[in-house]
């Protein structure tokens, strides 16, 4: 019998094991206190759901786990205490390991992140019998599933999400998409493969939400007149300042902790002929708009001539992407992991705007913030965007 983290309230999502009252091998009666959990300011004692012998403790004291995840197993009283789940009994999926191509060689334009490490593949094989059974039923190779459980373990939900994402197609008798003889078939480039991995992993990792703001650039347009400073430089500067005010947007998620980055490094997505790359403007908050502008121009030129060094594409804490030049009104960008937010800039052009009771032509753009709702709430994201908007619409010329 599985013992799960109980749902202690409608809005309670997880609980921390404070203490195991029983040890592995102890006999327990139904309703006898089994463990103690803590959620917010409430400590709760949880009774055993049934009688038997506590055969396995899955969540140790101090661990925080989502509600309904299995924290222990109770066996029948005369059953031999089960051995801890070993890796030997894992059925290796039909496709086996070769599918997890490890890309250690980073191409000149490769995006950071993505390649799984050996350590990861070991922890992900430590799964419960329930999860293994579920995986078998759905014909899923567990080694292909990204674990979000304790220590990277694959949970029931991970398997179900994997099934729902339709990635199981390739596991069993993969059918090549129908194509006629004269279709051109081409292997993905290393960069394309990295981008593909990165995008899919991001969608699976973050709870993507977007908020959209219209920003009047008339004042910025007047200031940059006669100078060669891009709109993007002003946007990066406004973003860097706003990140200082809202550090949660300049953060990463690491397991169940939030890492607030003290430095502000803004990545700028640059479209290439065959993909995209995100060079990073370091310490964007400490530079003025002119310096940022020079930095962006230089990075973009080097990106297009494939001369970027790996350091120049690493370490970004926030990304700005710019679909506007091709005419897009707005984009709904995917977060650049392990960051938690990304700003998309739509096309900047004259549009009719109501000022007072008159319709006047103003230079405007639509800015879209994609953010990770796991750690950023809508109100915070909107306040951040309101601050960016305010800074751009009332630009303080002394900061140029």
């Amino acid at each position: 019998m599985d013992v799960v983290m109980p749902q202690m309230g409608e809005s309670v999502a997880e609980g921390t094991i404070v203490r195991w009252i029983k040890k592995v091998g102890d006999k327990v009666d139904r309703d006898e206190p089994l463990f103690e959990i803590s959620t917010d300011k409430v400590d709760a004692e949880i009774p055993s759901p049934g009688a038997g012998v506590l055969s396995e403790i899955r969540a140790q004291e101090g661990e925080t786990v989502p509600v309904n995840s299995i924290v222990a197993v109770i066996g029948s009283a005369n059953e031999v205490v089960a051995a801890p789940s070993s890796t030997s009994s894992i059925p290796s999926g039909p496709s086996g390991a070769p599918n997890t191509t490890r890309l250690h060689s980073r191409g000149p334009g490769a995006l950071p992140g993505g390649a799984s490490t050996a350590a990861e593949s070991i922890t992900r094989e430590r799964t419960s019998p329930l999860v293994r059974q579920l995986a078998k039923e759905h014909d899923v190779d567990i080694s292909q599933v990204r674990g979000t459980g304790i220590g990277g373990r694959v949970t029931k939900d991970d398997v179900l999400a994997f099934v729902a994402s339709g990635k199981t197609d390739g596991q069993k008798g993969r059918e090549a998409p129908a194509h006629s003889a004269d279709d051109r078939v081409e292997k993905m480039s290393v960069m394309r493969k990295k981008i593909a991995e990165h995008m899919v992993a991001s969608r699976r990792t973050s709870a993507h939400v977007h908020t959209v703001f219209e920003v009047d650039f008339s004042r910025v347009a007047a200031i940059r007149e006669g100078r060669k400073i891009s709109y993007l430089s002003f946007i990066i500067k406004a973003v860097a300042d706003a990140l200082k005010a809202f550090p949660i947007l300049n953060a990463s998620v690491d397991g169940d902790t939030i890492v607030y980055h003290t430095q502000i490094h803004v990545g700028v997505a640059v479209a290439l002929e065959s993909g995209l790359i995100v060079p990073v403007v370091r310490h964007a908050d400490q530079q003025d708009v002119t310096a940022i502008g020079q930095c962006v121009t230089e990075l973009a030129a080097r990106a297009r001539s494939k001369q970027l060094s790996p350091e120049e594409v690493a370490g970004g804490t926030f990304t700005v992407t710019n679909p506007g030049p091709f005419g897009a009104l707005l984009g709904t960008p995917i977060i650049n992991q392990p960051q938690v937010a990304i700003l998309g800039v739509g096309s900047i052009e004259k549009r009719p705007v109501v000022v007072g009771d008159a319709v006047v032509p103003r230079i405007t753009a639509v800015l879209t913030l994609g953010f990770d709702h796991r750690i950023i709430d809508g109100a915070v994201a909107d306040q951040f965007m309101a601050l960016v908007k305010r800074a751009l619409e009332n630009w303080d010329e002394t900061r140029t």
């Binding site: 202690m8 309230g9 409608e10 809005s11 309670v12 921390t16 404070v18 203490r19 309703d31 206190p33 103690e36 803590s38 959620t39 917010d40 300011k41 409430v42 400590d43 709760a44 004692e45 009774p47 101090g62």
Partner: protein
Amino acid sequence: MRPAPDVRRLGVIAYPDALALQKQLVDDRREGRVGDVLLLVEHPHVLTLGVRGDGGRSHILATDETLTSRGVAVYETGRGGDITYHGPGQVVGYPIIDLKPDRCDVHRYIRDLEEVLIRVAADYGLVAERVQGLTGVWVRGEKLAAIGVRIARWITSHGFALNVTTDLNYFNLIVPCGIADRGVTSLSHLLGREVNRAEVEDRLIQRFTEVFS
């Protein structure tokens, strides 16, 4: 409708005695020997630790000698939350309530306790509020009442501590509830006058019955 709780106003009682009494009442409540009970007490100077991590021991700022010389004892408890201070001038409430069957939600229970305290503050013309992510009741950014709760099979114990005429200097011994950047306040401090303790207890009983019935 739930019947109004049996209120017991016990006056000054030592912390370990209150702990033992609560334990007894939780058992009695589970066995159905008593109905819902609300204990209202006052403790001599004491620091109590929660169960999480080191219980907040690292949030004691004073040395053992200082604590001893000021007559402050330290106890470990079974409640949630971090360290807190209890002492003269504070109304401490311990509801022993069976949340089954209709109130089985720990967040709701906390919100309900906060609601009781917010209404009592309003009775004194004070606008008290909840602060997102921080349990307790706050007035202008300072903590008026602390909350720390234990629930065993949906029967509650521990509860809240409302500062009425508390000597706030004692909070300097600790980082209250592990929250370093927020102050502590009392009804008396906010109103700039002495506040009658019995009257506060009367308000608490009325508001508690209102929210929990």
